[in-house]
Symmetry: C2
Subunit: 381 residues, 2 copies
């Protein structure tokens, strides 16, 4: 099976490393014949080209593996590949979270498939396990640690008592965080992955912008002091819960009991949990990023296409997002505690523990409050 | 696809519960047409029979799902089903661990498949994920908590300081432990699962009796006192490591740092980890037993057969077991500490911390020592 690879950076170079050297017979049948690179400095191989037409117009190429990152031109190239009757595999969460509906429709029209295992949880076989559970029963919930950068920052602050800025700088120096860290620390990366998990688990497409998002930019050492005192650990979660007539989806820090498995997921690991009727809770833990683990996921998708598995694009259901269903307690640290008097159960200095309210209600209050330094977390006991 | 079900106890009744009521189209094509029950009291359904010939001689039945437990007659029935050209799915770890080589050969001769997801880790998709990783690269190691009963006992002793006998009685009263608990507490159950994991992960067949096994019968509250003082948690592990010319396999309690994910796997949950070159460490956590999770795994195997996936029986490799490779430190609590003087690094009362020695060496010493009340654990720091 001939493959055109778009992008030869961290993930793309991992893909050729695996496909070029693998001794397993099936994998040897995956042949990367062309590689789109961005400039002369990357033209390291006879297969490299700077002209995407060499891939999109090559009738021998059956699959395009997109590992470029960024929204454009990745989106346009994927759309054109599908229109040309080529299968698409992507590791690009941001692009696919924005354009999943369009690209899935295009795939359906052209009787090809789109797979996106690597877009979510790096090497963790998350999408394939959601698919596997889903062929037997409805997955009705998911939650977990979807972002290694923030998990590194949080677990470092938790273990060393260090401040946020210092821990972020450390993550940057280790290459875990970008120079502009907003996508990670403001929760947008988790939001893309929440969109993609809901797509696979619930067969619904929810725009990232419809999902309430709270990140860790405002987190301070004193939040860990509070958590420890109460035998809690702080983690950044993406979650989804399916009901018969709506789905609840949000991204937010959570305080979980320090006896929880998620509390022992540290550094840049990811941990993702699914819930369904007969299997119950199943947790998948692994490296959420990195060249080879992520490339492993891309190659697994290529193998699925090669073996003709699950190429069916499911019908998307029309179920609205509604975050006004499940009441929970929130920890809010704010300069304006008096603003939250109506929903407070207890106040200690600038820390509020709320009564049981929904995410929708909490989100309204936080926006109305206007305290940009506030930090909020769901308390799960 | 017509299925004959052998056994209608905890797992078997879970299977009919799922297949009879499931609304998913693919699962509705799985039709349990006959059920072998053991006596009149179980003849609750028109499909029930007490004569296995009604299943083995029925040409319409393509698959036999064996959920009887016990070695005989389960083994004979499975062999006869394969000889009759029927696929076999089994949840029976003890029988399959003993007879895997024979049954896989029979399957090969008759061009049918044998699947055993439910035999190991209950509902956790362990075998299918080992298969999935293995289609891309060699899984070179596995380890984890394979037994929920002992994990319940250990985590209860850890949390409450209770004694072993009392915790075992509690596990029995909750239905987690058998009246004769030897298979669980002496590690034999984990040994079967270690055989089956090595079979799937490494394509080798190792008789359970070849795997050194240490259980938790001798565990005492003082072992937890030692562990806590050293920020360690105790768990019972089954492990396998593949080398180019041998495989190291053992079952033994381990002391791991209390920051480890396994330390937060409590009660009757299982947690299984695989290692491979590009994916790295991947951990799978879920319910290791129970009617519906285990039945879920049986039905997943049935779906794999229905979809014609991975029916290939791999060639088994001839690689010997050798536990004289990796040196490790052991915690040994014994009435005869002087016996271990030659391998001791430190001694405190009746507790020895050994120098780095191999499992083979430690096993020789423990057997020669003759202290049946001794308790041993690998210290993994």
């Amino acid at each position: 099976m001939k493959i055109g690879l778009l992008g030869h950076g961290v993930v793309g170079s991992g893909v050729t490393k695996i496909t070029d050297s693998c001794k397993v017979k099936k994998v040897r049948r995956l042949e990367v014949t062309r590689i789109l690179v961005k400039d002369e400095s990357e033209m390291t191989d006879q297969r490299c080209t700077m002209d995407v037409e060499d891939i999109l117009s090559d009738p021998e190429i059956e699959v395009v593996a997109e590992c470029m990152g960024g929204v454009e031109p990745a989106h346009t190239f994927c759309a054109r590949a599908l229109e040309a009757g080529k299968h698409v595999v992507t590791s690009n969460k941001k692009m696919f979270a924005e354009y999943a509906r369009e690209l899935l429709e295009l795939a359906k029209e052209n009787s090809v498939s789109v797979r996106y295992e690597a877009s979510c949880g790096g090497g963790i076989p998350w999408m394939s396990n959601l698919e596997r559970i889903g062929r037997l029963e409805q997955v009705n919930g998911f939650r977990g640690i979807f972002n290694g950068t923030t998990n590194y920052i949080i677990s470092r602050m938790e273990e060393t008592g260090a401040g946020f800025e210092e821990s972020l700088a450390q993550a940057q120096s280790l290459g875990y965080a970008e120079r502009d860290p907003s996508d990670d620390i403001d929760g947008f990366d988790v939001r893309y992955k929440t969109t993609l998990s809901a797509l696979k688990a619930f067969s619904i497409y929810v725009k990232p912008s419809e999902i309430p998002v709270y990140g860790i930019r405002g987190i301070r050492p004193e939040d860990f002091v509070y958590a420890k005192k109460n035998h809690l650990a702080i983690r950044l979660f993406g979650t989804g819960q399916l009901y018969s007539d709506c789905a609840e989806l949000w991204v937010m820090p959570v305080m979980i009991t320090d006896m929880d498995v998620f509390a022992d997921v540290r550094s840049n690991f990811n941990a993702l949990e699914s819930s369904s009727a007969t299997l119950g809770r199943a947790v998948f833990i692994g490296q959420g990023a990195g060249s080879l683990p992520t490339a492993h996921a891309v190659v697994q998708d290529l193998l699925d296409i090669y073996q003709g598995q699950d190429s069916l694009i499911p019908e998307l259901r029309r179920i609205p997002v509604n975050n006004d269903v499940t009441p929970m307690r929130f920890y809010i640290r704010t300069e304006k505690p008096e603003f939250f008097a109506g929903i407070s159960e207890s106040v200690e200095g600038n820390v509020i523990l709320t009564k049981e309210i929904t995410v929708a209600k909490m989100d309204d209050m936080m926006k109305a409050c206007g305290d940009e330094s506030a930090f909020a977390a769901v308390v799960m006991k």
